[in-house]
Symmetry: C2
């Protein structure tokens, strides 16, 4: 029996469009002789549909779309389609109103399976909407017994994890039933290391339960979440016999041999050579999909000559094509000469259009307007922020005028400590590298220069440099000291610890939930640690108003980061009564 | 037995400060002869602590604070303190790592009770952190059996609701055990009608189960959530025998008569005379607490002469005092004469400081800077937004320079349809009336003028007008047509349906989850309904970047509103491939 995996890229809520994508895959699968087609979790509506699920008309429309799909599908192809099913016992039993389900379509809706383990952590809110299914899910097709699991259902192998995260382990139940193989229909967002982790984890389960496993994942960017695809299959010995492409749609076919009772070797797409390469492809997809799904063809961004905006420009160019990226230089009297030459060199290297709009006159205009009110005060943070906000206003004016999407260019290190201006450089519809620490920004740029812009070649993207020998990010951008250039001679390290130190502290604080004492024990300076913790806490009000940022780590600021603003926990001393240190600055 | 309710206002994460508040209440309660003191849900850390709960050091610090509190409490007073308890079986059983608990302190930690029903809807994420308790919770004090429930535990009376929301009903379990009375320790956020609903619901339970009930609620603003207090008690017949103050801290005492086996009549604070009055007090508290808990003593806001900024200025004045509110007029060449005179009249009426910063010169500066780039284009949305963003930049400059909190003044109707400028008039640390529909803005202002600024008198606030006969909101503000004044002669109704119609459509769409067809069936015009639905969907990217907005309804934009941005559900036609209508505008 041939089983096809439709690694599709749905648009959230676009039921007819997503059904068309499933149908297209089904036709190809049928042509290729497949008997069963797998689609990702909630493939009909796209994952995550979030509060659209609270609309009864949305749920009803899914039923109608599913019924239509049943009619349109080719004969002799069974298809597992992700959908929601109403929980008819909800009000009697005191349960949630929906199930996160997979419908087996095979000349009609033959069976409906409910997801059993509902993730409610990080970016996942499934207990908000869904009741957990109680039964082991399987069906029989041409005398082959196929176990069905939905995403998280396979993420609770207590042997692998050394602990349980849920009471049940669905794969154990299916193994007891003695199914022939198990499919897992997923919408698993990307983060660094995630694919290696998935393959290692499922290999453990395949071997432990002697079960061939076929894992079908969604692909595509949906707001902050990037789904990486890379669907794969393991045979009964846990060997990888198939891997689909990363960060692209794909249709792959695996074959279950009815004599050997196992999956046969199939196509295995190679892994990326480095984390930097992998993250690059993730971010390119994230930008492309956010733009296209929000119906933009062109983007605009500010080019400061710094490394952050240089990387974002390169990502946007790879995502949308050089003719669709517009870079704006906005020098002030405090800008260095190299900020202009470096930005222009980058623009030339990428082949994108640029323009230069000096902001000196506007700075003078604000100075004049505020002169009486600010008389007798010193140049400070207020004046620095005015510059950033002039730039933000110019960029939004351009975005509004020409229908461009504005990309913001702040990295995770500065989002963490608030080294950024709200309504200034934070402006944008999408924060491309908001989950990329500064040290990683450098390593991706170095990788990009080594690749010479070939990074995306052969993977559906486009080469972003005209010569493979030319470095894309100008050398000076990589070597000069980072600076916001909001006052004369300013460099980041006047205000922040060196980025290697800062990023390590942030990793421990944000990802590892370490206390100040634990971070100091790891070798960091007490005063620096306390200061970083304070800065992170005080920047919460800025992060709350930040654009969606593409998530590439296991703990991103965004939908999975839920912190109070008016909180006193991170205050080293209880100074809240003194009223001298406002949290916002 | 005398039972005291400590209606305290905790700061999130401020363990020493909150413990001090509990201790202070305990000393007063002991002096008054109470044997038992009730405090709100999670009183030690404040509700909601959100992702602070993911930090092991935070949980550990709560244990230490609780141990210290045990030592400090007066003798002969038992105290129920809200805290979290580690779930020691979590990893073995596949459960969440914490319980939402109440500790009974009475010369040591005598018992710990776990919340049984965990709300995971709207703004609540309790399944993200907590495992549900399984046992009926009660204790015996001086031979009186007291049932313990925590907030949601009493919100599942299937007789009252006509359905179950959870499998268990803790009050039914306690009634079977035959306790003498039941306490409910809550952190229940305010919304319009909520108190009447609570009292009606618990009256039903009191009567049904023949149980006296004592309900202790948190008070205070925590980011977007306003907790209204209004703790109350019902005797065995369901009669209201006590009600504490609304929107203020309070300490009230009720007495359980051991002969009658019932609660005796106590102080009942009167209800508000109107919804407008109640909302006014909610918003005043929300502003005061957000400012103080973020360590601000002064606020700044733009005064346009319109009704929204007028109401916000009045709220801020009542919250922080007229000497702490700074109003900024920023007229443009498109501003009407009355926009200035009305704003100045309001400033005078409130007695707040104002300044006037004309923006014409800055508009000219942007025009000059963008002249080449925008050559040949028409004045439009881009130019309108520039004006709003100049104002936003000036306000933030003032906020940054003087350490003021900027308040934003947009109402819910315009936040819904996106009739507001991101990085412009949306700027601010707190969106004061973001959950108040425009029609309600008018009714609150009319109420305020009738009250003549006496609204807050006698409730801990201050009178905001020097004469009780003078109307606070100038008459012209109430009667003129609303306008953004971003181009000559513009009024809101050029772009929007009349607010009575718009607000009714929004209520049906946002609160009642009605479909377009249902809203049309209710008597609205099809084209208007479709257009409003489109506008609401397309404004999602703006709302995602909005400041926290004070929640006063059962469905606010904010932490309980979780919508995708790049979604195609609300598109009437599937136009996403045309790329002609960007979602952001």
């Amino acid at each position: 029996m041939k089983i096809a995996i439709a690694q599709i890229n749905p648009i959230i809520g676009d039921l007819p469009g997503n059904a068309a994508k499933i149908l297209c895959a089904a036709q190809k699968a049928a042509t290729a002789g497949a008997r069963l087609l797998l689609t990702p979790e909630l493939s009909l509506c796209g994952y995550p549909p979030r509060d659209l699920l609270l609309n009864p008309s949305f749920v009803e429309a899914m039923h109608i779309s599913l019924q239509q799909l049943v009619k349109d599908l080719p004969p002799n192809l069974a298809v597992l389609v992700g959908t929601v099913e109403e929980n008819l016992q909800a009000q009697n039993n005191g349960e949630k109103p929906l199930f996160n389900s997979m419908a087996l379509l095979d000349n009609g809706i033959k069976q409906v399976f409910h997801k059993r383990l509902l993730p409610t952590y990080d970016v996942f809110d499934e207990c908000r909407y869904f009741e957990a299914g109680l039964q082991a899910n399987y069906f029989t097709l041409d005398d082959i017994d196929i176990g069905v699991t939905i995403c998280e259902d396979l993420w609770n192998d207590e042997e692998f994890w050394g602990k349980r995260s849920y009471t049940k382990n669905p794969i154990a139940d299916l193994a007891i039933l003695g199914v022939d193989f198990i499919v897992n229909l997923s919408a698993s967002p990307y983060s660094v290391h995630k694919q290696q982790f998935r393959e290692t984890m499922l290999r453990h389960s395949a071997v432990r339960f002697q079960q061939p496993l076929i894992y079908a994942n969604q692909v595509g960017g949906n707001d902050d979440l990037i789904f990486d695809g890379r669907s794969f299959a393991l045979n009964r010995q846990g060997e990888l016999i198939c891997r689909a492409r990363g960060f692209e749609t794909d249709l792959v076919i695996v074959e279950f041999d009815e004599v050997q009772r196992d999956l046969l070797p199939s196509t295995v797409v190679a892994e990326y050579e480095s984390e930097d390469e992998e993250i690059w492809h993730a971010l390119v997809l994230g930008v492309r999909d956010y733009a296209q799904k929000c119906r933009f063809s062109q983007v605009v961004l500010g080019l400061s000559g710094g490394i952050d905006s240089s990387l974002v420009a390169a990502i946007a160019t790879a995502a949308l094509g050089k003719e669709n990226v517009f870079g704006v230089l906005m020098p002030s009297p405090y800008s260095s000469e190299h900020s202009i030459t470096d930005a222009l060199a980058l623009g030339e290297s990428l082949g994108i259009k640029t323009t230069t709009l000096p902001i000196g006159q506007l700075m003078q205009g604000y100075d004049n307007t505020l002169a009486d009110l600010f008389a007798g005060t010193q140049f400070g943070l207020a004046e620095e922020n005015i510059q950033s906000r002039i730039r933000g206003n110019l960029l939004m004016a351009i975005a509004n005028k020409f229908g461009y999407l504005l990309l913001s260019t702040g990295n995770k290190s500065e989002m963490a400590v608030g080294y950024c201006t709200l309504y200034g450089d934070m402006n944008g519809g999408l924060a491309v590298i908001a989950d990329v620490p500064k040290t990683r920004v450098y390593s991706i740029c170095h990788w990009l220069n080594q690749e010479g812009g070939e990074g995306d070649k052969g993977r559906g993207g486009e080469k972003i440099s005209s010569s493979s020998h030319k470095q894309i990010i100008p050398e000076n951008v990589l070597t000069k000291a980072p600076s916001a250039e909001l006052k004369p001679g300013q460099v980041d390290q006047d205000s922040l610890p060196p980025y290697e130190i800062l990023d390590d502290i942030l990793q421990r604080l944000i990802h590892n939930h370490q206390s100040a004492a634990q971070i100091v024990d790891a070798g960091h300076d007490t005063q620096i640690v306390d200061r970083v913790i304070q800065m992170v806490a005080r920047a919460e009000f800025k992060r709350r108003q930040a654009p969606p940022g593409l998530k590439i780590t296991d703990r991103a600021f965004g939908t999975g980061w839920r912190m109070p603003i008016a909180s006193n926990w991170f205050a080293v001393k209880n100074t809240y009564q003194s009223k001298t240190i406002p949290i916002h600055n």
